[in-house]
């Protein structure tokens, strides 16, 4: 019985995902910004505030497009584009950071936590980034003294290809008399992207429920 049920769940999960999917824009990857003049530290002035929601409520993510006009940083491994997010007061928060696939491009993320003066407090391990659906993500807890989330491109990864295969199930209604029958068909999609310096990132912060 469980196995038949699992079969159904696979189908329904695929169907629900397919019905919610919208095609993202196709953005050409930026692989080198050597010509730009970049400071060594991030400017706190460009920080975007993140609104916190409470656990169980809908999140209020903030999205940043990191394109050729985005601020840049000069690091030991080269020049990177970045976006800076200011976490809400209070905390700790469960913070979600996602790099969104934009057609051929996928922003190669690195993330550091900064204190209120902009000094680095913590680097999130690169291995903590994992895919959730089509997004490259990391989910983590913020700590006291961590005020800013610096999201910058991982220069060493830029230009590397990434191929992913994913399956889905589509439902098509076929009118029959006064009703309809539903035809289910499966398909696979191969996605070829390039890790890039540019892209789009989304950040949200969720506070614990009081008393938890």
């Amino acid at each position: 019985m469980k196995r038949a049920a699992a079969h159904c769940a696979v189908l329904l999960a695929g169907l629900s995902a397919a019905s919610c999917a919208s095609k993202p824009p196709d953005i050409a990857p930026i692989l080198d910004i050597a010509a730009r003049d970049c400071p060594k530290a991030a400017s706190l002035a460009v920080a975007m505030p993140v609104a916190a929601t409470q656990a169980g409520d809908s999140t209020k993510p903030i999205t940043a497009m990191i394109d050729e006009k985005a601020p840049c940083l000069a690091g030991d491994d080269g020049k990177a584009l970045y976006a800076l997010f200011r976490l809400p007061d209070g905390g700790p928060f469960t913070v979600s950071l996602a790099s969104l696939t934009l057609g051929r491009s996928l922003f190669a993320p690195r993330a550091d936590m900064l204190d209120d003066q902009g000094a680095e407090v913590r680097q999130l391990p690169p291995s903590s980034f994992m895919f959730r659906g089509t997004d490259m993500t990391v989910l983590f807890r913020s700590h006291a003294g961590e005020r800013y989330l610096l999201v910058r491109s991982d220069v060493k990864s830029a230009g590397k290809p990434l191929s992913r295969v994913s399956g889905s199930v589509q439902q098509t209604a076929l009118p029959v008399g006064y009703g309809a029958i539903y035809i289910y068909t499966g398909s696979e999609t191969a996605t070829d992207t390039t890790w890039s310096l540019n892209g789009e990132v989304r950040v949200s912060a969720v506070a614990d429920k009081p008393g938890s």
Binding site: V10, F140, Y184
Partner: protein
């Protein structure tokens, strides 16, 4: 027979609801739990045999009769694959436990295998008191359950454009031994159908694709290797969640 069909449909509806309302993930906060040095890996909840899933086919369009035909065909595929796999030395449960052990050890923890009796599928309801494994100084338990989708091979549809590929659907949880607090809770899916939210997803290794079921059962060694790759990737992702 009718009762069986009703139970299948009820289970289907129940799981449909679960997929629509995936639980919130709880990330592990390593800094706040720096005292966690030894992780007891509970015997994972997983069936002995993999399942073969065809995610879409003609039968699904024809109500109960179609579902019944589908169920029969699926059962035949499961049985045939199980027979084919018996000719190999592959043991899913042993391999998965070993992969979890390696993944936890690779993150700097001492890993201890803890035998767990599981009367029901899914997470354990009660965890062993810390004193029970005092000799190992277990600080937290890793509870992993391959439920719902379980693991095996899945094809999105019929035809060579949607080959059978290995999959694994694992729920995982890290629980503090001293008080039962849940320190991490997540789901890791190797080769999901669709793009499920609130869970870690891993794209399948393209080396393990079988154009149809006959091709799959015709090469059990490669099929076993594909299962091994999927379970190892699943275990490694779980290790990454507790780093």
């Amino acid at each position: 027979m009718q009762k069986r069909i009703v139970l299948r449909l009820l289970a289907c509806l129940m799981l449909a609801g679960m997929s629509a309302c995936a639980s919130d993930e709880i990330p592990f906060d390593h800094s706040a739990n720096s005292g966690i040095k030894t992780i007891g890996i509970l015997t994972p909840a997983m069936p002995d045999t993999p399942q073969i899933v065809l995610a879409s086919d003609v039968g699904q369009s024809f109500g109960l009769v179609g579902a019944l035909v589908d169920a029969g065909m699926k059962e035949n595929r499961d049985t045939d694959f199980e027979k084919a796999l018996k000719g190999t030395a592959f043991n899913s449960a042993t391999r998965y436990l070993a992969a979890l052990h390696a993944a936890i050890a690779a993150r700097g923890y001492a890993a201890v295998d803890i035998p767990a009796f599981r009367p029901k599928a899914g997470f354990l309801k009660d965890y062993p008191p810390a004193a029970q494994y005092a000799q190992f100084k277990v600080d937290a338990y890793l509870d992993v359950a391959l439920v719902g989708y379980e693991y095996g091979y899945i094809a999105a549809g019929i035809g060579s454009s949607t080959p059978y590929r290995p999959f694994a659907y694992a729920r995982c949880r890290l629980v503090r031994a001293s008080d039962g607090a849940v320190l991490m809770d997540d789901t890791v899916v190797y080769n999901p159908i669709g793009t499920p939210a609130k869970m870690v997803t891993i794209a399948p290794d393209p080396a393990y694709a079988f154009t149809d079921f006959d091709t799959l059962v015709g090469d059990p060694d490669k099929a076993a290797k594909g299962l091994d790759v999927s379970l190892t990737a699943s275990a490694d992702a779980i290790g990454a969640l507790v780093q």
